[in-house]
């Protein structure tokens, strides 16, 4: 498959997100070089790649924050830069990587700001759903497990708790396209899995999700598809089992990499080694040996999508 080509196309409606030959340079450095990427509605796409590969930049271009030097970004067929900021933010919600929450707003107020795109200047909320499922703010806080500290100042929370507050805010925004930049970076193991499960559930319900994820195992387990970014270009794109190819990963990350299978989930499991320190030599790099190239994992990636968007109770 050609990198960047949509995995399946042919339906009449425009893709949920389309990057068409996007190039971005920041401070004179080319960060994205002619990137084309199509994401169909309801897909959970994981962006993987080494630090500095352009994952964050791609997300910032996708939500319209960055003006690409060349190319176009279309959301549901509409050029994101032709939309007003408010209109764009009703179509795409973003969870940024580093929460810069230095003002002592209570959590509930931060989450409530997710309704900002739907409000007019007098604060009237045009899109607030009436009686289906109650208050979107409270619901989002329940789903992300932040309702417990809804009234605490956000400045007093830990990094992981803040990250979940921002996810709650994005859910409150109620947009058909959700972009996440390292949503699990500072989460502990239970909340990391919970967050990705929640997001996968959203995708199963029709929300399109694009998430930069540095943990390749988690990405393989929860994403429908992966796109491997390397040096500002898309090096590979497809189902996790295809993209997590040791040679492609080694080329992108610049270090020996072995791909095996997680004994519990059956999803691809990636292990990186320092240069020249591969135990058992290169033969050991594909530890599951039996399956040939690109068969993909036995367990479908959206393994827990049947739980829908309900938070798993532990």
């Amino acid at each position: 498959m050609t990198p960047g080509e949509p995995s399946d196309s042919g339906s009449g409606r425009p893709p949920a997100l389309e990057l068409d030959g996007v190039s971005v340079s920041l401070g004179g450095v080319d960060v994205l070089a002619d990137v084309s990427l199509t994401v169909e509605t309801g897909t959970f796409l994981g962006l993987i790649g080494p630090n500095g590969a352009g994952k964050t930049t791609l997300l910032r271009a996708a939500n319209g924050r960055l003006d690409p030097d060349a190319g176009a970004v279309r959301i549901d067929g509409e050029d994101v830069h032709a939309l007003s900021s408010k209109a764009a933010s009703r179509r795409v919600a973003t969870v940024p990587q580093e929460p810069s929450l230095s003002f002592a707003f209570p959590v509930r107020k931060i989450v409530d700001m997710g309704r900002h795109p739907h409000r007019d200047r007098l604060g009237r909320d045009a899109g607030r759903p009436g009686d289906d499922g109650g208050d979107p703010v409270e619901r989002a806080m329940e789903r992300t497990d932040v309702a417990r500290f809804a009234d605490r100042p956000v400045t007093e929370l830990s990094g992981g708790e803040r990250q979940r507050v921002l996810l709650a805010r994005a859910l409150t925004q109620d947009a058909p396209l959700l972009l996440l930049d390292e949503p699990t970076a500072s989460l502990d193991v239970n909340h990391g899995v919970h967050t990705l499960d929640l997001v996968a559930g959203l995708a199963a319900g029709g929300t399109t999700v694009v998430a930069a994820i540095h943990d390749l195992d988690l990405a393989a387990r929860f994403c429908d598809e992966l796109a491997l970014l390397s040096g500002g270009e898309i090096a590979a794109r497809g189902p996790p089992g295809d993209v997590l190819d040791p040679d492609a990963l080694e080329a992108a990350f610049g270090t020996p990499i072995a791909v095996g299978r997680d004994p519990v989930t059956g999803a691809p499991s990636v292990t990186a080694f320092p240069e020249g320190a591969v135990p058992g030599g290169r033969e050991a790099r594909r530890r599951d040996g039996a399956t040939g190239d690109g068969d993909g994992p036995d367990v479908p990636p959206r393994e827990r999508a049947d739980q829908e968007a309900e938070p798993s109770s532990e």
């Binding site: 910032r60 939500n63 319209g64 924050r65 007003s84 900021s85 408010k86 209109a87 764009a88 933010s89 009703r90 795409v92 919600a93 973003t94 940024p96 929460p99 810069s100 929450l101 230095s102 003002f103 002592a104 707003f105 209570p106 107020k109 931060i110 700001m113 997710g114 900002h116 795109p117 409000r119 200047r121 604060g123 400045t155 921002l166 805010r169 994005a170 925004q173």
Partner: protein, 338 residues
């Protein structure tokens, strides 16, 4: 709606406080006048044809033409500076931001000192000169910090500091060359309300209130902007356009205040901090309460300035009271976290 109720309660209380300190301040002076007489004379002046209380002509004149204009100007200037300071602190996400952070006051100083020291060279009058140079300086700082339609806040801050330093040098030079008018210039630079008439109030009040109302309509956007520009964009705030508007309005309000009252420091820095500790960071309640508290604060500060051992520039009082209070906040409360 809980917030609306809280806002209304706070604003009601602070407005009552403002009325109280205004009446109290108007009773003090070389001629002592009772509260009731002050209230009657004040209503006669402000209420026009509606009120017609019987007060002695002398009392009516002292309250209506000497004391009230000064109190009203102090309240207007305090209101304007505290509102602009609140907006600037939110805008810059920086607790050290004050209304003059992009050079409004230093610009006004150059214009005012030039007009005082060299009236022949500046034929437009002190107020106009101060107002014009204030806005020109603010715009220059903005233009210097803007590239490709974007104005990074950090660049704006540094450009503001640099331009303020430059303008400070110009002002110092003008002061050295000002000869006999040095004392008058120094008075202006430290804030003066002692020459207040209703004319100054008429000049400063409408722009201050109008700009305040527009800023209030952007309180939600300012809240979202506090989360950082990336987040603000993601939440549908047109970041650069909103920044331009907030900067322009806050600078306009500040310029109007400085042009009529000189440079009065610390009101726009201290009052928003104190109110943020009391009501929290939400600008829908913070902006109106700060503005009202700023009005009361400056009325009290000016009462102290004018009725102490000698007539002091009010800027000395605000700084003398404000700096220790700020240091107290800094040591005692977590001001750095806003």
């Amino acid at each position: 709606m809980r917030l609306a109720l809280r806002t209304a309660t706070w604003c009601g209380g602070l407005f009552a406080l403002l009325v109280a300190v205004a009446v109290g301040s108007a009773t003090i002076g070389p001629v002592s006048i009772g509260y009731v007489a002050v209230a009657k004379a004040g209503l006669n002046t402000l209420g026009g044809p509606i009120f017609d209380f019987t007060v002695s002509g002398q009392t009516q004149f002292i309250v209506g033409q000497l004391r009230l204009p000064r109190i009203a100007l102090a309240a207007t200037v305090g209101f304007a500076l505290a509102a602009a300071g609140t907006v600037m602190q939110g805008f810059f996400r920086n607790p050290m931001a004050d209304p003059s952070i992009i050079g409004v006051s230093s610009g006004a100083s150059v214009g005012a000192v030039a007009a005082i020291a060299f009236p022949a060279l500046v034929p437009v009058g002190l107020r106009t000169a101060a107002f014009a140079t204030a806005l020109v300086s603010a715009f220059a700082v903005y233009a210097i910090a803007t590239e490709d339609g974007r104005t990074p806040v950090a660049t704006l801050l540094l450009a503001g500091v640099a331009v303020q330093t430059l303008l400070g040098a110009v002002t110092s030079y003008l002061l050295l060359e000002s000869g006999d008018s040095l004392r008058e210039a120094m008075y202006w630079l430290m804030g003066n309300l002692h020459a207040a008439t209703w004319r100054e109030v008429e000049l400063a009040f409408p722009p201050a209130v109008l700009a305040f109302l527009v800023l209030l309509a952007f309180a939600r956007d300012l809240n979202v902007l506090l989360l950082g520009e990336e987040d603000a964009h993601a939440l549908g705030v047109s970041v650069e356009r909103t920044k331009r508007l907030l900067l322009a309005l806050a600078s306009l309000v500040t310029a109007a205040a400085v042009a009529v009252a000189g440079v009065i420091g610390f009101v726009g820095l201290i009052v928003p901090h104190a109110m943020r500790l009391l009501v929290g960071p939400d600008h829908r309640i913070l902006l109106p309460t700060s503005a009202l508290a700023g009005a009361s604060f400056l009325v009290v500060a000016d009462a102290v300035a004018s009725h102490g051992p000698g007539e002091l520039p009010v800027g000395i009082v605000t700084a003398a009271v404000g700096a220790p209070f700020f240091l107290y906040l800094l040591r005692d409360r977590e001001v750095h976290a806003l």
